[in-house]
Symmetry: C2
Subunit: 349 residues, 2 copies
């Protein structure tokens, strides 16, 4: 598929203009544009500008509110709760992680739970905010049920992403960001859209048999990654970001693409930890570099394939798109062109 | 194998007497006995009293110290660091989680890092302490390198356990506790001891080929669970409990069974979060019960096999051993009998 390349700053201004043109609050639009463009730059295109048409559709239907003016309560030094007032997940995620980072700077650790939010995109963005502040970051979100518990066949949990970030190099943190399902929900949507089959053992019907045919994938349940252990991680995400925040839990969360009868009510969980309280930063960086060196040296002798640190391939994508422009596939360009017309905004292509 | 059944209180007093007889501080011995016996009661026998001979051997060699009198610094309200002075991991784990719980009661969240410790046994014990205090608990530990990074073939990370606990029922919390390797290190030791083969795809040689033969398992590297995602979790455990605490990292951690030249220098990471700061406890319990109901209903229609909540089978084991007595296998009974003689303690069998 052809790819259009747009410089980061031009794309960012376009996304801001699109959101403002649709009626989104301009401060929120600025934070959101940063999230979308960064996400495209690390190569996670399915959580980048590609999501704008669906999000703006929900906004226009009144299912997402802006300005949302989140209500913050801080019941204890290291713990805060945000009622997102059904605002955009990208804005609330940015807001909540910034709050967690500020709390960690003051009290060593900051935890912020968010309820009444929406899909927050790629958790890597938020943990990278923490890493850029020389902090450890953790971000989780629940999502619409698509995943069966270990031993079950019907969807109860979302693909519930888990993200972890730790400072590493000047340009680039260690970035962990994975769905707790055997395959990300976005990849299932992609298979359905592109009419491609999936391998066995990822999606099952209600008798537990594998579904591989894209025509039937929508009716199946995705299995957890890594069996019982992956289910445990997904359940932890649901408990921390759903149960504990007062957000929707399991079927209490609505699909952003399929359910236009109610707000999504996603919940998130953010944690930041201030490294410099535990050891001088140069010592932390030296210790991390030593661990990375050992990991890099753990490959097959003589094998060309290198061992990658989590996030490393993302930062390569980032550097490439920083220099060549952010790649947007032709289909997304077409959809954004339609959206730009509706919003009265000029396209950069 | 024959199993001897010993009542919980009798076994606990015996373990305390054994430890004291070996010269361990009596306060430390009391906390440690509680950890060992509880771990046997939930059915995790490989982390229970079975470990006593190896631990006491290290203690007698001066590789573990008691009393260790851990040095606590609290650089911020929600963050503390423990220098374990090379004390027993079970004692330091209990001490550190108790500190995290106290900090969470005051500040909403408490994080405690531990360095200069030893193998802490089953993380489930510590997160259950948090759950019994109506808190969320997280416990992690690094350990001697046995696991290759994703894409690598040589051991860099330990089997680095991750544990998570959340209150659920009066008698029993949701308990997640897993090694981040494809198979626990203890199961590999068991296969070597019992001379049984392992399935393909769990342990590899330095060319990446599967090792299944128990005679060669000791030379291989265990793969992470769940591929790249499991490696990410194991790396997070190493960063939080090793790098960040100042403990040994990777090969800086020594084997409790094989390396008698230096202290083990394990690091741990504990987190507690006070639920009642976020919502009234009855509401939390009701929301958790609703989620559990959905998970239980996600099985195959008509299938006999039930869907289990993490920890559920552990609590069944606990109830059984509470009523019948704690089961100790014959081999462990023999080893403890020898140890009891050395320590001048009468056995309860």
């Amino acid at each position: 598929m052809n790819t259009v390349r747009i410089k980061e700053d031009i794309l960012t201004r376009f996304v801001q203009a699109l959101l403002r043109g649709a009626g989104v609050d301009s401060n929120e639009a600025a934070d959101m544009a940063a999230v979308f463009v960064w996400t495209d730059m690390i190569g996670r295109h399915l959580h980048g500008v590609n999501r704008l048409p669906a999000l703006i559709k929900r906004f226009k239907l009144g299912l997402i509110g802006s300005p949302c003016t989140p209500a913050v309560t801080q019941p204890a030094n290291a713990l805060a709760l945000l009622d997102g007032h059904n605002g955009f997940g990208q804005y609330l995620g940015h807001f909540a992680m910034a709050k967690a980072i500020a709390m960690a700077s003051e009290h060593g650790v900051g935890v912020v739970g968010v309820r009444s939010s929406n899909h927050f995109g790629a958790g890597a963005y938020y943990v990278n905010l923490a890493a850029r502040s020389n902090q450890i970051g953790i971000a989780m979100s629940n999502s619409v049920p698509k995943v069966a518990p270990h031993g079950g066949v019907r969807p109860v949990l979302g693909t519930n992403p888990f993200a972890f970030g730790a400072p590493w190099r000047e340009k680039g943190a260690i970035l962990v960001d994975f769905s707790t399902s055997a395959i990300p929900g976005s990849k299932v949507l992609e298979a359905i859209a592109n009419k491609t089959s999936l391998p066995e053992g990822l999606v099952v019907d209600n008798e537990g048999k594998s579904i591989v045919d894209p025509q039937h994938l929508g009716q199946g349940a995705i299995l957890p990654f890594g069996g019982a252990k992956g289910f445990c991680v997904g359940l932890m995400v649901e408990l921390l970001s759903g149960v504990l925040t007062g957000a929707g839990v399991s079927h209490g969360v609505a699909s952003m693409y399929e359910d236009f009868s109610r707000p999504a009510d996603n919940g998130h969980f953010f944690l930041a930890l201030d490294i410099a309280r535990l050891m001088p930063l140069p010592r932390y960086y030296a210790r991390t570099a030593e661990l990375v060196t050992l990991i890099k040296a753990a490959g097959k002798s003589g094998a060309a394939q290198e061992v990658l640190i989590p996030g490393e391939s993302r930062w390569r994508s980032f550097a490439e798109q920083e220099s060549l422009g952010v790649g947007i596939d032709q289909k997304t360009v077409e959809r954004l062109t339609v959206l730009a017309k509706e919003c009265g905004v000029n396209t950069p292509w």
